[in-house]
Symmetry: C2
Subunit: 319 residues, 2 copies
């Protein structure tokens, strides 16, 4: 090793100046730093052999530098400063975590990172470096889900309804009209067809009696559809926040969510995942891109260990 | 039970006439069939209690009838006739399988169904009934993947390259230019950055020597990225068909595929799944919608038990 450059995983000391490996390589490549007695290639090889993630980190570093940002590479996070500011002038605005296309990310890890960012009063950015060495940035945070839809409690039992597989058919006209007005179900001729989730919710709110009680019905629903409980919990939680939920199937999600009853287009897509869920980066990219294309926010929901439902909002970030 | 109507899972006999349950309910609802001594609701309840899938099947049936199609409900498939034709006038053009939003579908089952359809000389349509009772149709078939890109074999070894984590950096200018022209890798300053898959492919074709042989390198690559082998097999198979592959990460897929070297936009998105893969309907909806939005065909690839790679093309079907 050249006696003028000391290389470790976390820093490079050249002529007594301590730089991050990313900074050192960047300056060398740009010709703004000279290294005596060592070829650029050799230096790059040495640096990348101390840290298998170096090249990925370097790609994000150069990408951000070339976009005109000041950025400080740390061991876990990169610190990103507001555009135009120099590092130190102002506090960093974002912390960046870096993953590869071939990585996967547990939902709980994302959630922990959101908490870390909040504690540091920064926004969290996830940078994914794809196999072609392009970087895509996502902003990841807690979703703010609030609506203004509040239904009048109506405990009139449904006079006539019947369960048919994973649907419930409502036959009496008055109930059909009342429920349809409140955005439940779908008309089929002069009947209303409710989903199991809608029916369970109505049962829980005393409005519907199909000759079964809620516990019986929940058991039946769970026997009919995968992950009924997890989806139903999210449905109830979001209804309680004044939101209206319909299926998000056409957008590849469990729910599309309206914030008010007269809203023409839904605002959010919600996909429910189990607490031990691990995202493939491709799935994340696919869901966020689709939501973006239809001008909705992509939200992933899961039930954490304290039985609170957590909502993670992931969006494209243009830097 | 009324003595005029005999109801089984597969048929209803009314006044000596044998109908499918879907036809019988449809005609009753439209008032084109009368049933003595039995309310519509009671008849519907009886029919749906013989088959838990009845209501889903009925939704697809009515949707197709209302679109003006002749359709014959069978036990496994619905038979769909060309628009304007009556059942029997012409042979059916499509066979339809019906699933719910909450169902899941093994990739091998889809593939078996494609084979069945081909043997019957029909096109296969997958109808998914969502929780809101809307029906979305997908046409499912074998993907036709063929391209015109044929590289000149060039076995010149790469003079200088180095492995850095999950990338390989090519340093010598002649190779950088040659590979870049053939759409490999990405330029980073005066170097070319190759992915592990690209490098493995080049090694296998004798063009690149990084001091490692192909077996060693494949082992290294597999240790670095999940499912490397499955993706590499698909990569090689499609390159052999004259196609050019780049990452499809931005579209949530493993590869975007070009049919010729001067093509501006890729034609296909390819996502590689393991042979025991089970699709959630939401994932399928999401992938197909995204591909459709960027005017590409969505293709799922898997390695079947005979070590042939199977490509399944799934697209939206407007009926």
């Amino acid at each position: 090793m050249d006696d003028k450059a000391q290389i470790t995983e976390e820093s490079v000391i050249i002529d007594g100046e301590k730089l991050s490996p990313e900074e050192a390589v960047f300056l060398l490549e740009k010709g703004r730093l000279k290294l005596k007695g060592m070829e650029r290639e050799v230096f790059l090889s040495k640096v990348s052999s101390t840290n298998p993630d170096f090249i990925i980190r370097y790609m994000v570093y150069t990408d951000l530098k070339e976009r005109g940002y000041a950025v400080k590479p740390g061991r876990v996070f990169f610190w990103l400063y507001p555009r135009g500011a120099r590092a130190g002038d102002k506090p960093a605005k974002y912390i960046i975590i870096i993953r590869r296309e071939s990585d996967s990310i547990p939902v709980k890890e994302l959630d922990r990172l959101i908490n870390s960012a909040r504690n540091m009063r920064k926004e969290l950015i996830l940078a994914i470096v794809d196999d072609e060495s392009d970087v895509t940035y996502y902003v990841v945070g807690e979703a703010r889900l609030e609506g203004s839809h509040h239904e009048e409690e109506d405990e009139t039992p449904i006079a006539s309804c019947s369960v048919a597989g994973d649907r419930v058919l409502v036959h009496d006209r008055a109930t059909v009209e009342r429920l349809h007005k409140n955005m439940y179900g779908k008309l089929m001729g002069d009947r209303l067809v409710l989903s199991l989730i809608e029916t369970a919710y109505l049962l829980q709110h005393g409005a519907c009696t199909g000759g079964r009680d809620i516990e019986q019905f929940l058991e039946y629903a769970a026997s009919k559809t995968r992950d009924f409980k997890a989806k139903f919990d999210v449905y109830c939680d979001l209804r309680a926040k004044g939101l209206i939920l319909k299926t998000g199937f056409k957008f590849g999600s469990h729910f599309r969510v309206y914030t008010a009853s007269q809203q023409k287009h839904s605002s959010f897509l919600v996909y429910v995942v189990p607490p031990d869920y691990i995202f493939a980066t491709h799935e994340l990219a696919r869901a966020v891109r689709l939501a973006h294309g239809v001008k909705k926010r992509m939200v992933f929901a899961y039930n954490d260990t304290n039985h609170r439902i957590r909502y993670i909002d992931i969006g494209r970030k243009k830097l």
